[in-house]
């Protein structure tokens, strides 16, 4: 096989793994984690009835039952809805989230079988802005969904979503300015390598940026306490007019976006695929596996923390939400950026 073809096949394999294995796999698993974690912390048991041949497996079959239910439910499009946009919206949302997954650095470059294997599916010198930009594209899906359903509630939810996205995408990028300036790169892989070279995780250099990014990230995924665009208890949400698998795609989007945010945090603040004390790039195939494993474990731990926050805090009021974004997170991000620049300038 020619080298170019080989390369293309390897990239395709990586992308498929990132999207289907890592992304959708974890997203499905998160549905179970969400139920069980919230149940245990609220002194309940949680969904445990779905069974296969009498085996319940702690409710692990519920995501499968969910998927079957969503696939077989009636796909309802309300009268007055724009059919094309109505169908397109969830695809845009989910597609944008899934693309971001493929740009995460699951591992560095390892040498095995006489050639170098780069474990990042889509390597790009502008990885961070790329991921943030595509993630922000998901907001189009939300606005489209609200607009196309021909329902006032959907539209209100979409408007809330749009306002929230704009407020928090700004903070998302601004909070990263300092740390990226420090790393001197926009490439996710390079950012990880900087942390490996200096033996120092970003969270210790830029703790404030970590907090700000995590907060803004939680808001960007539209999950509680920032779930105003969905507002389940208020029946105002961009997806009120959705059912069946289209609704399922919106649900998936939330999980996928959470994974993307946690992946970004891992890469930029928690040393990415690196394990302190181990020289993974020099360990060949085993090193590659360990890289992917370490990255996944860090992402899962972060998801666990986000899930706990989601079930602990009550929802913000809408003005509080915008206040937090524009009046607190954004100025703090910019101050952090300025302080970082001054720090680097004085230190040099």
């Amino acid at each position: 096989m020619s080298l170019a073809l080989d390369q293309a096949a390897w990239t395709a394999a990586k992308v498929v793994f990132a999207i289907f294995g890592f992304g959708l796999g974890i997203a499905g698993f998160l549905g179970w984690v969400e139920r069980k974690q919230s149940a245990v912390m609220q002194d309940r048991i949680g969904a445990n009835r779905a069974s296969i041949f009498g085996f319940r497996a702690l409710g692990l079959f519920h995501p499968i039952a969910d998927a079957i239910k969503m696939l077989t439910k009636e796909d309802f499009v309300p009268r007055g809805a724009d059919k094309t946009l109505h169908a397109l919206a969830p695809m845009i949302s989910l597609g944008a989230g899934l693309f971001c997954l493929a740009a995460l650095p699951f591992g560095g470059t390892v040498t095995a079988l006489g050639r170098a294997w780069d474990l990042q599916p889509i390597a790009s010198p502008v990885g961070v802005p790329l991921v943030l930009a595509v993630l922000a594209l998901g907001a189009h899906g939300i606005v489209m969904a609200g607009y196309a359903s021909g329902s006032g509630y959907g539209l209100l939810g979409a408007l809330r979503g749009a306002a929230q996205m704009v407020a928090y995408e700004v903070c998302l990028a601004a909070s990263l300015a300092g740390v990226l300036f420090l790393y001197g790169t926009l490439d996710l892989q390079e950012a990880v390598l900087w942390q490996v070279r200096h033996g120092l995780w970003g969270i210790f250099v830029q703790p404030l940026a970590f907090l700000l990014f995590l907060t803004a990230g939680a808001a960007a995924t539209k999950r509680a306490p920032f779930d105003l665009p969905e507002g389940e208890s208020e029946i105002v949400g961009y997806h009120v007019e959705y059912s069946g698998m289209k609704f399922g795609m919106f649900l998936m989007t939330d999980f996928v976006e959470s994974i993307v945010i946690c992946g970004l945090v891992t890469a930029l603040f928690l040393g990415g695929w690196s394990v302190p004390g181990l020289n993974l790039p020099g360990m060949g195939a085993l090193g590659g596996l360990l890289m992917a494993a370490s990255f996944s474990v860090k992402v899962l731990l972060l998801l666990f923390l986000l899930m706990q926050i989601r079930w602990t805090l009550p929802r913000f009021r809408f003005d509080q939400l915008l206040d937090l974004g524009w009046k607190n997170l954004l100025p703090l991000s910019l101050l952090n950026f300025l302080a970082t620049i001054w720090g680097i300038y004085l230190w040099r």
Binding site: Q37, V40, D43, R44, I45, Q308, I309, T312, L313
Partner: protein, 176 residues
């Protein structure tokens, strides 16, 4: 009468920046999570713990826990001599907002009693469980304390309970 003044929680800088409060909330939920997980794990291994990991009642397998005064299915009461107390005054039928009680009256053999119910049907498929019938009854002949909440049936006709069933003389079985 005692008045207990509750001081309004003060807004300090600590609560305003919210981060500390988030940590305090997380501390509580994390504590519950890990304590419960530990209890579940210990119980799965057969170790007895002071409390179960969850307060959940596995309802269809374990019986539902009802309060003694819970408003449940209707029940017709009997006098000391075993005859139904109901005097067929129709007050309950009149007040019922769902119009789901149907009574037919007949002469009572006891000369001191004017009437008695010949049939007494309650359509539980229509009943809204308001309890007005119990309030209205002048002779305390009907109560809603049968401690029974599993009232579903496969047909609408089976939702109708007749007098012997309400008296508890015959068990409620689906009619064929």
């Amino acid at each position: 009468m005692t008045v207990r003044p509750v001081e309004r929680p003060r807004r300090t800088f600590g609560t305003q920046i919210y981060l500390l409060e988030v940590w305090r909330g997380l501390a509580i939920t994390f504590r519950h999570l890990f304590v419960n997980l530990g209890r579940h794990a210990l119980r799965a291994l057969g170790v007895k713990t002071a409390a179960p990991g969850a307060v959940t009642i596995q309802y269809p397998e374990d019986p539902a826990v009802l309060g003694r005064r819970a408003r449940t299915r209707h029940r017709l009461l009997k006098r000391g001599d075993g005859a139904p107390r109901c005097t067929a005054c129709l007050l309950c039928e009149t007040i019922c907002p769902a119009k789901c009680i149907r009574i037919t009256a007949e002469d009572a053999p006891d000369p001191r009693i004017e009437k008695r119910a010949k049939t007494f049907d309650i359509d539980l498929g229509l009943c809204v469980f308001c309890g007005y019938c119990v309030e209205a009854c002048p002779v305390d002949a009907i109560r809603m304390d049968a401690q029974d909440v599993e009232l579903s049936a496969y047909t609408r006709r089976d939702m109708i309970w007749n007098m012997p069933e309400l008296l508890g003389d015959v068990p409620k079985l689906p009619r064929v």
